[in-house]
């Protein structure tokens, strides 16, 4: 239904489960994709599986110079980024009273600030071309909070607020800014849970199962599409009913 042919997308955190699924889905719908991440091997593997219309741009998003370089590289590879998916994220969980400044700083830097800087850089070309799709991968915990994730919840909530402000600024230029908020998704992170933790997590999900990276990716395809031009400043929750907000 959605045709992204002729559009170019940059997906950060594409060496991870959800990012990889997003890159695959955008690519399957016709987009040229630049896949970015810190780990070369999974990116090479993903690129090989996609074949044509794919570029690799490794970058460590905790390094500001690398963030600036990433957008330049991606624009050079494709001629211009039309769809930016700020997906890269890290966790440094810990109870509030014991949380170290560096755990706070790192999570804010990678999960929020890098997205701000990439978006600011990408807007220049989008404004000129009068088209753009900014998609932030936030999290259900950015809205509900979660014990042990003060830093992560702050960064994810920050992304939602940032997206709403940006959406208002650039709406007249046919640029939309939205978030997708995953709930519990099958990734390496949730694979690490033991049976008991898994059961406890699932008890909160009416759908009774974990979501998949493909289900997050489908939401991104929609928001990236030309058909979603009138949807902006929104957060699309993909969480099996875990939180209805």
């Amino acid at each position: 239904m959605f045709d992204l042919t002729g559009l170019s997308a940059l997906v950060t955190g594409a060496s991870g489960g959800i990012g990889g699924a997003i890159a695959k889905a955008l690519h399957a719908h016709g987009a040229t994709v630049v896949i970015s991440g810190t780990r070369q091997a999974p990116l090479d593997e993903l690129a090989a599986s996609l074949g044509e219309r794919v570029h690799i741009a490794t970058a460590n998003l905790s390094d500001r110079a690398a963030v600036d370089g990433l957008l330049q590289t991606a624009e050079g590879q494709t001629g211009g980024i039309d769809i930016l998916v700020n997906n890269a994220g890290i966790t440094r969980d810990g109870l509030f009273m014991r949380m170290k400044d560096e755990d706070w700083d790192q999570v804010i830097e990678v999960n929020l600030t890098s997205g701000f800087r990439l978006t600011r850089a990408a807007l220049k070309g989008m404004m000129k071309r009068r088209f753009g799709r900014i998609i932030g991968i936030t999290s259900v915990v950015g809205v509900t909070g979660n014990a042990g994730q003060g830093n992560y919840a702050a960064a994810k909530a920050g992304m939602i607020g940032m997206t709403k402000a940006l959406a208002q600024e650039v709406a007249t230029r046919n640029i939309t800014a939205n978030c997708v908020a995953p709930g519990f998704i099958e990734t390496a992170m949730t694979d690490a849970l033991n049976e008991k933790q898994r059961e406890a997590a699932l008890a909160q999900v009416p759908a009774g199962r974990l979501g998949t990276g493909e289900e997050i990716a489908a939401a991104c395809v929609y928001l990236a599409s030309r058909e979603a031009a009138y949807v902006t400043g929104q957060t699309l929750h993909v969480n099996g009913g875990m939180a209805m907000i």
């Binding site: 220049k124 404004m127 000129k128 600024e169 007249t172």
Partner: protein, 78 residues
């Protein structure tokens, strides 16, 4: 018109899609040329790129007309 003025004019015409005769030194970007606040930010960035200068925010706020831009850029590059 000076060389700077010609280059400024070209950028304004290109960016705002207005007729050349409307782009006089007295023309206000917002009042006369139909620019919105985003257009003015884009124009400032285009001037910075074209002339290789940095236009600080407080200076940018004083650039309201084509003539203001020409004056600033002549000073900055001269």
């Amino acid at each position: 018109m000076s060389d700077v003025a010609e280059r400024v004019k070209k950028i304004v015409i290109e960016h705002l899609g207005v007729d050349a005769e409307k782009v006089t030194l007295e023309a206000s970007f917002i009042e006369d040329l139909g620019a919105d606040s985003l257009d003015t930010v884009e124009l400032v960035m285009a001037f910075e790129e074209e002339f290789g200068v940095e236009i600080p925010d407080d200076a940018a706020e004083t650039i309201l007309t084509v003539g203001d831009a020409v004056k600033f850029l002549e000073k900055a590059t001269g």
